[in-house]
Symmetry: D2
Subunit: 444 residues, 4 copies
Amino acid sequence: MQFSAEAPSHSTAHRQTETVQPGDDICGHYRALRQQSEVFCAPLHTDDFNLQAMPETSPPKWHLAHTTWFFETFVLKPFCPHYQVYNTYFESLFNSYYTGVGTAAFPRAQRGLLSRPTTTEVFQYRSAIDQQILALLRHDHPQREQILQRITLGLQHEQQHQELLLTDIKYGFSINPMTPIYCNRNDRTAVRGFPLRSTAKLNWTEFNEGMCDIGAAASGGFYFDNEAPRHRVFLHSYALANRLISNGEYLAFIEDDGYQRPELWLADGWQQAQQHKWQAPLYWRRQGHAWQLFTLHGEVPLNLSEPVCHVSYYEADAFARWSGVRLPTELEWENAAASQPVEGRFVDDGILHPRAACGEKQFLQQLYGDVWEWTASAYAPYPGYEAPAGAIGEYNGKFMCNQMVLRGGSCASARSHLRASYRNFFYPGDRWQFAGIRLARSLH
Amino acid sequence: MQFSAEAPSHSTAHRQTETVQPGDDICGHYRALRQQSEVFCAPLHTDDFNLQAMPETSPPKWHLAHTTWFFETFVLKPFCPHYQVYNTYFESLFNSYYTGVGTAAFPRAQRGLLSRPTTTEVFQYRSAIDQQILALLRHDHPQREQILQRITLGLQHEQQHQELLLTDIKYGFSINPMTPIYCNRNDRTAVRGFPLRSTAKLNWTEFNEGMCDIGAAASGGFYFDNEAPRHRVFLHSYALANRLISNGEYLAFIEDDGYQRPELWLADGWQQAQQHKWQAPLYWRRQGHAWQLFTLHGEVPLNLSEPVCHVSYYEADAFARWSGVRLPTELEWENAAASQPVEGRFVDDGILHPRAACGEKQFLQQLYGDVWEWTASAYAPYPGYEAPAGAIGEYNGKFMCNQMVLRGGSCASARSHLRASYRNFFYPGDRWQFAGIRLARSLH
Amino acid sequence: MQFSAEAPSHSTAHRQTETVQPGDDICGHYRALRQQSEVFCAPLHTDDFNLQAMPETSPPKWHLAHTTWFFETFVLKPFCPHYQVYNTYFESLFNSYYTGVGTAAFPRAQRGLLSRPTTTEVFQYRSAIDQQILALLRHDHPQREQILQRITLGLQHEQQHQELLLTDIKYGFSINPMTPIYCNRNDRTAVRGFPLRSTAKLNWTEFNEGMCDIGAAASGGFYFDNEAPRHRVFLHSYALANRLISNGEYLAFIEDDGYQRPELWLADGWQQAQQHKWQAPLYWRRQGHAWQLFTLHGEVPLNLSEPVCHVSYYEADAFARWSGVRLPTELEWENAAASQPVEGRFVDDGILHPRAACGEKQFLQQLYGDVWEWTASAYAPYPGYEAPAGAIGEYNGKFMCNQMVLRGGSCASARSHLRASYRNFFYPGDRWQFAGIRLARSLH
Amino acid sequence: MQFSAEAPSHSTAHRQTETVQPGDDICGHYRALRQQSEVFCAPLHTDDFNLQAMPETSPPKWHLAHTTWFFETFVLKPFCPHYQVYNTYFESLFNSYYTGVGTAAFPRAQRGLLSRPTTTEVFQYRSAIDQQILALLRHDHPQREQILQRITLGLQHEQQHQELLLTDIKYGFSINPMTPIYCNRNDRTAVRGFPLRSTAKLNWTEFNEGMCDIGAAASGGFYFDNEAPRHRVFLHSYALANRLISNGEYLAFIEDDGYQRPELWLADGWQQAQQHKWQAPLYWRRQGHAWQLFTLHGEVPLNLSEPVCHVSYYEADAFARWSGVRLPTELEWENAAASQPVEGRFVDDGILHPRAACGEKQFLQQLYGDVWEWTASAYAPYPGYEAPAGAIGEYNGKFMCNQMVLRGGSCASARSHLRASYRNFFYPGDRWQFAGIRLARSLH
């Protein structure tokens, strides 16, 4: 991703640029990935760093500090004897929700009120912790294996916050009447605006009933605890749509009074839709008879062939019911995706916006990237799931209630962060993530 | 159940007593079950009929009217040509949540403000609709089969509301400082208070992994749409506790600071526990060093050997985590229960309170009756589930989000209403139902 | 007031009718006034006795009990040695807000949830306390003078609650879609509906500047502490409208977009009007192009010549601003009213609805009765005000903040309860009292 | 006031320093006063400029922009033909509450979410508007007199926001666990901490009853519309305490269970105190057995001889009742203050904190400065009050309900902004202003 040259002084003033070289060791990976968080902040002004437009989002400054806190708390404190805490206030201020670390977390909804420490001080905090982490990594240590595991977890954690950083900024900018632009599109399509392509035909890919293995294989590289243990399930025959649902298809739902017909909705969804007066996905803005879309590139005309995005689970479910079919379960999704390469449009591509499906591909496409796909599965532990011991065990397990699983990753996810077994989860009413719709149907 | 002789005038003044005889036809069943709702109201004073102590509960008068509305709306209106609506206001006032019936439902949280129609008028409404239903049943009708199906559904629906009537009254009385008594215990144990028995030993019953069939069999009598279709699942090996968790066991959790240790709780559960200052199950009342329990029989000393009751899913889950095991899934529960007879303590027994497990039984007991058992399963459609067409399809399907499945029935459920495939569902924070805990663990 | 003959059993079953005879002593006054509260409840069904449609209102049953509690607490307890409390629960349940009586008041917003004690039990409570009060009054007592003062205060208090009983019932019925009727109009005008008279011409009565005396004279019979001490004030010259503002005049304000023009409103009033979507006075209901009015007699066509009623202070103030004038201060009102007889339409007349001004009267009319008149005066202590010692001192003094003074009484006030110095007070947003508008203007 | 030299770049980068010279004309006054707002922001970091810790406060950036918007809206737009609006978004974003200016104000509670325009852009806005205002002032204009009036109003308005800027920053910093320091005390007393002096003896100054003139005299320089018209009132004899109530005296109230005794409180105050768990004035922090005080200089030990500060009207009133006396009316205050010079400790002194009374002075002291004094007077129009025509008339008049008048000014007010007739007003529950207590008592 290329950002404008006028990056504010924070990210450059307090640390030298790190370049990731091929063949880099763990230190290089660490530096590169940590720096990426700051690169994502480059288009921001200092004023933006404290912006928290709703309790579910966090200010950019907080994301930068919290990810650093994670390394300090789960690497430096346990593995560096005589480690001196950087700032005792930070132990609480930048704790997200861990109850097992000794200090209560600062209230989430008030993160945007933390004008201090300043953004500059947070960048200094990042720099100081990074130096100590890198020093730790450069030397022998009797627990090096565990340290590397924690480092890996911390980097995966940082990737998650990088995506949240983008979606939180997007939401924060969206409520500003001045329509701030996070970054201008610099590819050719952007110059001409989003092209209006006819939507690719929707096909169904069928899967036979049978036993299948679900979850991360212990041998296959990093995975989160919630992806384990790998286990057998029986699936009935089903079919998946070969691509995501487009804005044009969703517009047909709207124009067929989809938001006015309670019979299409889950009861809780209908209530939420009425309460918040939902009439379209988040970021759709009616302008006379046309629709505009708020994006990280500013407001643009709605492109009907792009995947619909920023819908809640309730809207995805209502759309599926209106379509006469349903959403896939996470098991059906993973069974289909397991055989596919992790290809698609990711944050690495720097577009930060989902793009239209390819008309020529008959088979499954857009499984990874573009938008997360709401599944019909409530977020729950797999059979035999065990949360890790200690505070680190709070990472995933304690959220296994009231949330729905999303699969596949989005245009704001890092390619290296995703895999078939990856389980994302949000509340069914959440709309500020890049989340969209893939349909499924039962064949039995 | 035997109630005191001083039943208020409503239930006797406006309808003659119906006695159910062996070999009774559908009319007899209809009359008997409908009358049962009024029998449950016999201990109430007119003042109690409008009591709605929280939005989730409904006033007794409303239950009586709504169940009648159900028959009027789904039997008389569609199947009686030229049917004249009893009272056009009732179409909205006593509609619970059906959006497909033409009139918007009166706001749920304000049902207790409907001082009119009066209780007497609601009893008259019941009587008038009953007469027309019975007339319809006594004559030939080209759609008799469908009518009988709807009558059956209406009676099942009424049984559900009979249980809610009891739990709603219990909650409504509980907030009154005067501790009203719904009915005195008239069995011998009651005279001497709840006996303190030592809790029966807890054993584990094991189940091997394998495929099993879940859901109601099409051939097996009435079932709700959410129990279908019957389908195959693969279960890993597991074990179920042979009985319910007792008050004594739950007290150990409390005394081990269970309500003060966030690491034992789901995040949403912890938040709710803090917000509402939960320190024990609903209806437990500390009195100095002892605990009292509010029941439908008034306040009694806590009996440690009785099943713990009126806990939320969050508390059940936290207790299981503290115990080092977990709650069963609804599939595991049904697999175990399918082979067991529907035996236990039900509303038919007239005790209206769960009772201690039997010490001699090694194998599964208390599966049915006493208290509903929270399962670890989010309420979701079975593979291939289809909601019925029309407004009747709103009965179950639209609630399949954010709620957890409970299994087995309670001391406030009718024996004839229950079966292995029966799925009850409530929000994880709900506590006013007779809901308790059975533990499970994985064996793989 | 004449009510229908079918009074429910409560008020007749448990006490014999008392007839007030000329020359009656204090016992007769006590009995008659206490009985009046029950007469006001005669048209109610038992279902209505627990109705509390918003926190600001109280259920009829609670009014009946609280006024009784007042006599028990402030007469029987302090003046009857060895008095046995009737029911210890009632000490808290029916305490409105007195903090100095030893028991905390039951939460106001939950009064409607007190299904027990039953209505019958509350009537028994009234009867039992009345007997003891009457016994106390019939015998000598060393503190007889103080007792008589307390009895008088208790009866004044009961008259206030009689008015609230009517306004609370009116509000409670208004939210019921079935439009319950409290009582049918039985006078001739009612038979023909409210006649549409042309509104009487509005004149101004002028008052010269100068010193005047404000507040109750110590020699003039009962008054509340907040009416004292009588004191001197200087008033600038002013004029008062000779009659109340009519519905027709208020309709002109509505039709001139009064509810859409923030420049006419106090800032807090505008906010409240927006929040609650006020478009007309409470109880006005648009029906096509016409307006209907909800009254204690049911819904009737709006009579344009009747005084506008059920407006908040904010609406009264906005109307006055729109009219180019202002509301009177309470001092200006009292100065004008002090010389006028307490004449008008009161609850004694049994109409329970304000009536049109008389066209022939040029001078001040409708000062008393019909509707309370919002003044521009915040409720505050008079210079030298002292609240009585003890709990009785909480009666008025602690409410002297955030409320506005109303003067004159309404069609729901007892004639014997009113006088020129009487100060009523409500929050500026309250609309459920019979409150209307008299205009004033400055002459200097 | 002297601030540290490290002022952030905003205020210096975009405008040259203006120095006020003796004999300066209106341009000099304008420049100096406008610059003062930026000087008050000098100790802030950019992160602080968006801080809005509760809806009642505004971010510093917003104050800077809104005061500029005031000049643009009420001077440049009406008096400069062909004026081009600086930024059409700003017309709404920085409108506080004026409904008559054509654009709806951005929601007050969300001002802290306006990360754009950036702080730098707001300083540019200030500079651009200032240039045009100064240009307007330097040239002849047919409406010069009106322009000068508006300029004066705008500067008075800016002084009000300068005080709010300080109190809002104080509140915003107070919720930060890191206890940010706005500025260090640089006088000698500060070096040694606040000295603990014995509190000066409290005397009473008496005033005889009689007529007096209240309100601003038309001939006496600038005043707000709410100070007019000057009018006669009759005052009963009264006495005023010669100084403010000290922390030590207030501590005695706390230690006498002042916060636990409802009989001392107004009903609304008691409710608010319970809801927010008030146990002491805002910014008092218990530390073991001692009290610390949060100030703009950081946290310091509570100085018992300083005036108590940051109390609500409810607390001031409860303290007065506990003391057996009362608060003064605004009329009593003004009558006493009218003869006194405007002397005291103001923002001009740069202390930003109230200071102890002087022990030697028997007569009235601390009337001006130190802390605003809550009066017992609800904010209401004076007899004959007329709001100016147009949007400018919204400045004061529409707030004349539900608020209480404060008199005298504080250590955060400018000396040149104050006078005997000045009426400040806040809601009785507001605590974040420098507001304290002067007692009064009636002598008749």
